[in-house]
């Protein structure tokens, strides 16, 4: 009998899993379920090209309308999964119907953390995660003159840059004393801070929001009050527990998986933002929120189902675009002991190389795409340049890659 793979979630991971299964010759049924009504689309352009008006809704779709039919992928839009019955190998859908699976891939991603004041989720604060959110923000942003953004992380700052391009007055509020502190060293935070300031963004650092009233009045912990037209927030994401909480699937911040993306239930896989995995580059268990992670874990899960297991072992990489700044990150810098800067002759073009015990563990590149691509290759091969080689801009780091 033909096997059936059910994939929950049609983001980068879910679509990739379906594609890889077909490309690798899977002959059974593939059901791809999405709780969104839009055909599957790419997420990174939402906070960049789409809201800038440079990429259309059509341009950010993963595939043509015919792709799913042509490849016998049963795409079900606007359907939620209520429950997973691991004993019966069955899921329950939002219309109450049941669907059997031989293999289940959970690719449900993460959802926005919401601001809570007085124990309640604050109203009229807008977050960006999916296409519906983007359409709402698009509509709200145009008439607004002053926009306050809560959170000085990637999404918040991408939205700030976007609002500046639309000639809005912008204020960013960040609890930490510098931007993107969780992931970036001081030198990089400073470049982004200076650039946003130069574009006219008002930066409030080390300040937290204690209340937002009617999406217009913002009260801060230093006693000040701001009045604004629109409040946007990007304060991180969490994985919803609803889907797994009444099942025997192990969950700890995300669905706990092994190197083949299998959960404690061998025919239930989890991939992408919702998968808590041991990452060999971070040398610890974590969730990664990135396109790379979703796509590569999808391939790992699909290959395992096809009986050609490959363990997840890809260099993590991320990026953000703000104004003329393109930041690309390779590896996980967590726990670094030394950071060495490789400075090009231009101030806004440099890379930071992170070392732990003389070993290269991560590289952040600012407007240095070639450094980034080389870094991914060096990290994948486990090759560490010396610190002198990194500092010497005339030394070609890619020469280390040639045996």
């Amino acid at each position: 009998m033909k096997k059936r793979v059910v994939i929950i979630g049609a983001g980068h991971g879910g679509v990739q899993a379906a594609s890889t299964l077909r490309e690798d010759g899977f002959e059974g049924e593939i059901v791809l379920i999405s709780d969104e009504s839009d055909a599957p689309y790419q997420k990174p352009p939402l906070s960049k090209g789409y809201l800038q008006g440079k990429q259309t809704a059509q341009a950010i779709l993963f595939r043509s309308a015919n792709y799913y039919n042509d490849n016998e992928i049963d795409l079900q839009l606007g359907v939620r999964v209520n429950h997973i019955y691991t004993q019966e190998n069955q899921i329950e859908l939002s219309d109450g119907s049941k669907l059997d699976y031989d293999y289940l891939i959970v690719a449900t991603g993460a959802c926005n953390r919401k601001l809570l004041f007085h124990g309640k989720i604050a109203e009229k604060i807008y977050y960006l995660r999916n296409f519906t959110d983007a359409k709402v923000i698009e509509e709200k942003i145009n008439p607004a003159r002053h926009i306050v953004i809560i959170g000085g992380g990637f999404i918040g700052l991408e939205l700030a840059a976007l609002a500046i391009e639309k000639e809005k007055k912008v204020t960013v509020i960040e609890t930490e004393d510098r931007l993107m502190k969780r992931v970036l060293p001081e030198a990089l935070s400073k470049v982004f801070y200076d650039t946003h300031k130069a574009h006219g963004v008002e930066m409030l650092l080390g300040v937290s929001v204690v209340d937002v009233i009617d999406g217009k009045t913002i009260k801060l912990n230093d006693g000040k009050t701001l009045e604004t037209d629109l409040v946007l927030a990007g304060i991180g994401v969490i994985v919803e527990t609803e889907l797994t909480e009444n099942s025997d699937i192990s969950f700890d911040d995300g669905i706990v998986v092994n190197g083949f993306q299998q959960s404690n239930i061998p025919n239930v896989y989890a991939i992408g933002d919702c998968a808590n995995h041991y990452n060999p580059f971070a040398k610890k268990s974590l969730r990664l929120e990135s396109v790379q992670n979703a796509v590569d874990q999808a391939k790992v899960a699909a290959s395992h189902i096809m009986g050609k297991p490959i363990e997840y072992n890809t260099v993590p990489w991320f990026w953000t675009n703000q104004y003329h700044l393109k930041l690309q990150m390779a590896g996980i810098s967590f726990g670094f002991e030394e950071a060495i800067i490789r400075q090009s002759p231009k101030p806004d073009r440099f890379s930071v190389y992170y070392f732990r015990k003389e070993k290269l563990i991560a590289v952040d590149s600012l407007n240095r795409p070639a450094d980034h691509l080389n870094a991914r290759k060096l990290l994948a091969a486990g090759i560490s340049p010396t610190k002198q080689q990194v500092e010497d801009f005339d030394f070609k780091l890619n020469s280390l890659l040639i045996d």
């Binding site: 341009a59 950010i60 993963f62 790379q292 240095r368 795409p369 070639a370 691509l373």
Partner: protein, 106 residues
């Protein structure tokens, strides 16, 4: 709509009508041309939409920005004078009939 012909590594040919202004990466991905990966979705971040443009059309393309130039240096398949990133070039009337070859690896 202008036409573009993609030739996959193993010889499969796709003759496609592309909407004016679409990038060659979008044209490939949405029509299931194998070998154009486009991991980053067109942000000039990953160099996995590397294509070889036929000589006859090379001159008609806009010049490369510095970042495309740099990304191509890091592309997996051999960089040639015909190399471009599919996400950085768009179909136009002038490019009607363009021929693009997909490299063996991205």
């Amino acid at each position: 709509m202008p036409k573009a012909t993609y030739i996959e590594t193993e010889g499969k040919v796709h003759e496609l009508d592309l909407p004016l202004g679409a990038t060659f990466m979008e044209g490939a991905v949405q029509n299931d041309v194998k070998g154009i990966v486009a991991e980053c979705g067109g942000s000039c971040m990953c160099a996995t939409c590397h294509i070889y443009v036929d000589d006859a059309f090379l001159e008609l393309l806009p010049e490369m920005e510095e970042e495309e130039e740099e990304m191509l240096e890091g592309a997996t398949a051999e960089r040639t004078p015909n190399s471009r990133l599919g996400c950085q070039v768009r179909i136009s009337k002038a490019l009607d009939g363009i021929i693009l070859r997909v490299p063996g690896e991205q």
